[in-house]
């Protein structure tokens, strides 16, 4: 199970990458895609220009086995959604940390985010 050190995480298994140009990229962790299995649909409820709030659903991920909400890791303005991942959801299974879903910025810092070690502990306990 891959948990890259340079990312931050939520307890609901989203990852966040803070980019040099001031955005937060959010996606699903390797653990999340592994648990869901083959992803069939990504249905994002947010659109570019809209707002998301930390801890609130910004869409649904539907796999063969199950459906789950995907939560915003930070509050802010949606700068972009990754249409390529939406159209090719199998990318999330193949490359969970490359297939970002939502680009957020400007955003507010979220002190509740977990570092890799803390997230690893959470998924080890599941």
């Amino acid at each position: 199970m891959s948990v890259p050190r340079d990312l931050f995480y939520t307890a609901t298994s989203e990852w966040v990458r803070f980019t040099d140009d001031g955005f937060a990229l959010a996606g699903l962790t390797d653990h999340a895609q592994e648990t869901l299995g083959d992803i069939a649909y990504v249905n994002l409820s947010c659109v570019a220009g809209g707002a998301v709030s930390a801890g609130e659903a910004m869409g649904e991920i539907e796999s063969i086995k199950a459906v789950t909400d995907v939560y915003a890791p930070v509050s802010g303005t949606v700068a972009a959604v990754n249409e390529e991942a939406v159209d090719n959801p199998e990318r999330i299974n193949a490359d969970p940390y490359g297939a970002w879903l939502v680009k957020i910025g400007p955003f507010e810092p979220n002190p509740a985010l977990l570092d890799a070690a803390a997230y690893e502990q959470i998924i080890a306990g599941e």
Binding site: G37, D38, I64
Partner: protein, 361 residues
């Protein structure tokens, strides 16, 4: 604590994601994932551990008359080595279980029943046996392997010491597969050609390993419960607890050809007669929106509820979401568009014929 099948260690070694199911620890999928396992069965072969299934023997001079009494299908004209599918009804016409009957000889039959219903079925049948008949539960010592897909026959034949059953729904007892005695039937739950092997727990692991090894070159993958479900759903085969239960009659579930109303008597017959035309019917749905309808979702026609989804999935071989539903009879026909309320949203769906998938001849 879940029971382990003889193949449990093999699953763990193949990175099987083990889950509790019907009292057993079984893989839901392996490293390849449900979609890849599903496609292996459609294009090459897949290997399934179905040791959780229940097996009972019905023996004695009155075995046949008891089957005729307990089950809806007609077993009177069966030959040795033949298999018939049948629902088993309660007195109200609801379904106790659906099962397979293997005729070994005129006084000995093997019944294969659903793992989750095993204890219920056995006490149901035992309480109703008449005359010279004995029911023996051999589930605990019996392992079962299913090998399914167009390349199954060549894989099994290479390891077998005698010819495999040729006709669908027939079986041959005492075929040695990789040196282990098996009852081999040409049956399955995937909509593909394939075999089910029944064998003693002891040495069963050798057969699994041999099939895995022999199958690799042909593209065989080990398959979990996830693929078993998506495969049977594409083939529109009913799953007990979804398309069938104690409150759903086999006629409502569209299994009328396995219910022989011309038999003098079977349990549930008078209730089915009294009920007349079934109130509900099983239909197929293709989901038009980007979503998957799931069991329990409400089916809406012009905003009015007409029934509920019994099973739904993304169908890997069709690349679209499909579902089966039980709805008011006659309320819709193929081509109708309707709605499925799924997680607070309405998914547009179209009524289609069943099965969703049929193998090419």
């Amino acid at each position: 604590m879940e029971k382990k099948t003889p193949f449990c260690d093999a699953h763990v070694r193949s990175a099987g994601k083990m889950v509790p199911y019907a009292g057993y620890l079984l893989p839901v999928s392996y490293a390849a994932g449900i979609a890849a396992e599903h496609m292996a069965v459609r294009t090459a072969a897949g290997l399934f551990d179905v040791s959780h299934m229940g097996e009972v023997l019905i023996s004695g001079a009155d075995a046949l008359s008891n089957l005729q009494n307990l089950l809806t299908n007609d077993f009177s004209g069966m030959a040795d080595g033949q298999i018939k599918y049948s629902p088993m009804c309660n007195e109200d016409g609801g379904t106790v279980d659906d099962l397979l009957v293997y005729r070994k000889d005129e006084k000995l039959y093997m019944i294969v029943l659903n793992a989750s219903n095993r204890e219920k079925d056995i006490s149901w049948m035992r309480a109703r046996l008449q005359g010279d008949t004995k029911l023996t539960d051999i589930s605990e010592q019996t392992a079962e392997i299913a090998i399914q897909g167009p390349r199954s026959a060549e894989i099994v034949a290479t390891l077998a010491d005698s010819p495999l059953p040729v006709k669908y729904y027939t079986f041959t007892d005492n075929i040695s597969i990789s040196g282990v005695r098996c009852l081999v039937s040409r049956t399955g739950y995937t909509g593909e050609d394939g075999f089910e092997l029944y064998l003693d727990n002891q040495n069963a692991r050798d057969v699994w390993d041999a099939l895995m090894q022999q199958g690799v070159a042909a593209g065989l993958l080990p398959c979990g419960l996830g693929a078993r479900d998506t495969l049977r759903l594409e083939a529109a085969m009913p799953l007990y607890g979804h398309e069938l239960d104690e409150d759903i009659t086999p006629l409502e579930a569209g299994l009328g050809r396995f219910v022989k109303m011309e038999k003098d008597f079977f349990l549930g017959k008078s209730a089915l007669l009294r009920a007349g035309t079934p109130a509900r019917e099983r239909i197929g749905l293709e989901i038009l929106d980007r979503g998957i309808a799931r069991a329990g979702d409400t089916v809406l026609l012009n905003e009015k509820a007409i029934g509920a989804v019994t099973s739904g999935t993304m169908a890997p071989a069709l690349n679209k979401a499909v579902a089966m539903a039980l709805v008011q009879r006659g309320s819709v026909a193929a081509g109708y568009e309707l709605g499925v309320e799924s997680r607070g949203k309405i998914l547009q769906a179209r009524v289609v014929g069943l099965p969703f998938y049929k193998k090419s001849k």
